[in-house]
């Protein structure tokens, strides 16, 4: 705990103004990743002062902003300091002609979307909980949605950052130009590093124009016709169509989204109206026998996706539900193994007495499984699911787990063979291991 006036310790008011330092009342959060003292940053200098102080005095720091990813990794219930970036928000620079945006980390995706819409541009992230999740968290956790199929993920969209290193120094990576190979591509190190290498204090992102027209084709496949899903997916991927998503929903998720209990392919098209309609025509002409087909356009399609972006647990509102009985998994695999993994997820759910909702992208290989059940059933479910997915060359990461289950299950799976390099990088950037300690792969 930080006290003022102790010998060798900075007076607390020299780190941040008093009103930005709060005793944390909520020490026993069911998702952990808290801090004894909450420090709110309003500027990059604030972040820098907190880290310089913590580094000098060997204080550990957990970083938070929107809190939606509080259940993602971490086996430290309370660090010395919980550094909040939630108030460090806003657009720094939007260069409309250059299609670039520079923004502070505590800005929510919704706020960014609202700021950009009037210029006909957007950040091409379709990540969940846009009104809660902040851009800093999305980038630090490398979150993504179904439309990464066409638009890419954070590693394709982030072109520059400012990072406050653990000693308080500010380092710029990348720049504000869309093409840049000067020096190492240091942006990549921080994307998905869960704040273990530095605190992101500014992000520059490549923007895209808003689509002129949006369409969504939902293909509902009857039970037993799973081979048709694969055949159809292979066919569309081998065609010249350019779907923005090719996302498969499992039967329970389809039930929630559309009131039908069957596998559903959600195929989005975003282009000129003519081009969208042509592609929808292609889908119709290639529909397998017995597939029910729904087409939505514009506002109706947008609303469907809006609903889709509010699925699964998140760390911010988890307390409203029963936090002890929810988990979310990110599954990576070969593109077409998504179907295999979703079927596996369903089959194992019945065996382990958990309920799941799941979806995955047949063109990009990332699936999400949301699990509900008793703690012990969730643990046994994840273990068996992970073993089987890994046998198929995939991986399973727990993007949301109650704190007390994290060590039992292992959030990240086995360490990679090159773990020593990851450790070396961590040691370079944060030698005292003060930042988000034990939050990342292999306990980094």
């Amino acid at each position: 705990m930080i006290t003022s006036g102790t010998e060798g310790v900075l007076p607390i008011e020299d780190i941040l103004p008093k009103e930005q330092i709060k005793q944390n009342d909520e020490q026993k959060h069911p998702l952990g990743n808290g801090g004894i003292q909450m420090m709110e940053a309003y500027s990059e200098e604030d972040i820098s002062s907190v880290l310089a102080y913590a580094n000098e005095h060997d204080k550990t720091v957990n970083v938070i902003s929107g809190g939606t990813k509080r259940g993602y990794g971490g086996i430290v219930e309370l660090a010395d300091i919980l550094l909040s970036l939630a108030n460090y928000k806003g657009v720094v620079d939007h260069s409309v002609g250059d299609l670039t945006l520079t923004v502070k980390p505590g800005t929510t995706l919704k706020e960014i979307t609202n700021a950009l819409t009037k210029t006909g541009q957007r950040v091409a992230f379709d990540t969940p909980w846009p009104e809660l999740a902040t851009i800093g968290g999305i980038v630090a956790a490398n979150d993504s949605g179904p439309k990464r199929l066409l638009y890419g993920s954070a590693r394709d969209l982030v072109i520059g950052t400012r990072i406050v290193y653990s000693d308080g120094n500010v380092i710029r990576t990348g720049g504000k130009v869309v093409k840049n190979v000067a020096g190492y591509d240091m942006n990549k190190l921080f994307i998905g590093s869960m704040g273990t290498l530095g605190v992101i204090s500014e992000i520059t992102i490549k923007l895209r124009p808003l689509p002129k027209y949006e369409g969504l084709s939902l293909l509902h496949f009857l039970k037993g016709n799973e081979q048709d899903i694969r055949d159809f997916s292979v066919k569309i991927l081998d065609s010249m169509m350019e779907p923005v998503s090719l996302e498969l929903l499992n039967p329970t998720l389809t039930e929630k989204m559309n009131g039908k209990h069957c596998y559903t392919l959600a195929i989005a098209f975003e282009d000129r109206e003519n081009a969208v309609l042509e592609q929808e025509k292609w889908v119709k002409e290639h529909l397998p026998v017995g597939v029910e087909h729904t087409v939505m356009h514009e506002e109706e399609a947008r609303q469907w996706w809006e609903k889709f972006r509010h699925l699964g647990p998140n760390g911010y509102n988890d307390e409203q539900h029963d936090a002890a009985t929810q988990a979310a998994l990110k599954v990576g695999s070969n593109n077409l193994d998504v179907l295999v993994n979703l079927e596996l997820a369903d089959k194992l759910a019945a065996m382990h007495a958990v309920s799941i909702e799941a979806h995955g992208g047949l063109g990009h290989g990332i699936s999400r499984v949301f699990v509900k059940g008793s703690s012990s059933n969730i643990v046994s479910y994840i273990r068996e699911f992970r073993t089987k997915v890994e046998n198929g060359h995939g991986y399973v990461v727990c993007t949301h787990l109650p704190f007390q289950l994290r060590e039992t299950v292992g959030v990240w799976g086995e360490k990679p063979g090159y773990f020593a390099l990851l450790q070396g990088i961590k040691r370079t950037n944060d030698p005292k291991v003060i930042l988000n300690r034990h939050r990342f792969v292999g306990g980094i």
């Binding site: 260069s95 250059d98 120094n169 504000k176 591509d185 240091m186 998905g192 010249m240 000129r272 969208v276």
Partner: protein, 490 residues
Amino acid sequence: MIKDVRNLFGKKRQRQKPDAVVQKLMDIVGENEVLYLKEDLISYECDGYTMSKGMPKAVVFVKSTKQVTDVVKCLNKEETPYIARGAGTGLSGGATPLGGEVLISLVKMKKMLHLDLENRKAVVEPGFINLKLTQSISDKGYYYAPDPSSQYTCTIGGNVAENSGGAHCLKYGVTTNHILGLEIVLPSGEVIELGEEGVPDRPGYDLLGLLTGSEGTLGIVTKITVKVLKNPEGKKTVLAYFDEIDDASKAVSEIIAAGIIPAALEMMDSIAIEGVESAAYPVGHPRDIAAFLLIEVDGIAAGIEDQIDEILTVCKNNNVREVKVAKDEAERGLWWANRKMGFGAMGAISPDYLVQDGVIPRTRLPEVLTKIAEISKKYELRIANIFHAGDGNLHPLILYDASIPGESERASKAGSECLKACADVGGSITGEHGVGIEKSAEMRFIFSDEEIAAQTDIRAVFNPKNLLNPGKLFPQPGRCAEVKKELVKA
């Protein structure tokens, strides 16, 4: 000791016996796979950047990952520095030996190991030629997107090292956006696999992204999993001639502002046009225009016509002299061949030329072009401009004559000043050619000492003894500028 051998042409010549290190390399890869005689090494003195040259100790041709690890381990033990080399088309001196390094040539590792079109990926060895990849899958309607101008000869391994771009990366991204997995031999000799099976977002720091574009200073790539794309259904190409550079620049910004992301959006100015019209693929561009734009739109056929109409309107609103759409694939092909000859064509109008590679926010194009014109005047050297205008990547080509005393030095200074002009508007000193030797001093235009140290600290994690491609990419206080000066003099 002298022994008789026959060289490539069967003539007898007398050969110096290899030294102990070279002998050990021969023991690993075989006698015929190591070059070490001065006359054999001359063509390895530099890559596509010819202003700096140095003699390698030897060139070793490896054929497998195992041989790479054995060679690396051997050189580590001998504390002999080494550099991985592909086709040697790099434009910043990344593969140029300045300290008597051993060159590990990967050109004989050139197989495609696996093709999985259902999952849209291919696995190739590093010496696989860029264009050959597209050619070997085009019959099935697929292609590999990054298309540097040197794609006829450059290798995918080299593309990974440099994070190469190309004319079509405006819409499709550069090499890093198309790499799914890498097998790497670390400077320790250890082999690691990143992005196994090409599965995205594997847990851990994104070493795949870090290694791509690290200019061969962190590890040697021995296997590459790339993303392959389906050919677009439709494609249209527009050529627009402008009397004023400013009008062409404005048209670029307005096309982007209209919500169009062309597959390519290229610009050439009058000097560049003079070059390409004197080279192998003349199109018949008018010689008295200030600039042309070459614009390509691709995607779903039904959506293209609208976009072409909008582009034509933007051009007309910006005082275009003439604008036309390619009438067939032959015409489109000629326009592109003419454009891709850009750099080489400078040889037709100047004895020597230096290519630069700055990047700027595209809205700053007019002011940076004015600045480049001033630099041209100041150094009394003609500067041709070829740009990937859509993504703000400029290639000023500084024309000079190395046989005139002092002219090479002026060209080098003019090049550096062009990069400063880019850095000053918030841009970068390189968009796709890399830093190498050429621009290591200019890294200071955009990075502070701490920011450079943050990167060299990362290098130390992978390459602690700095035996792998030393002296590249980062400025070395008090050395780099001197070396450059000496080399220019030489």
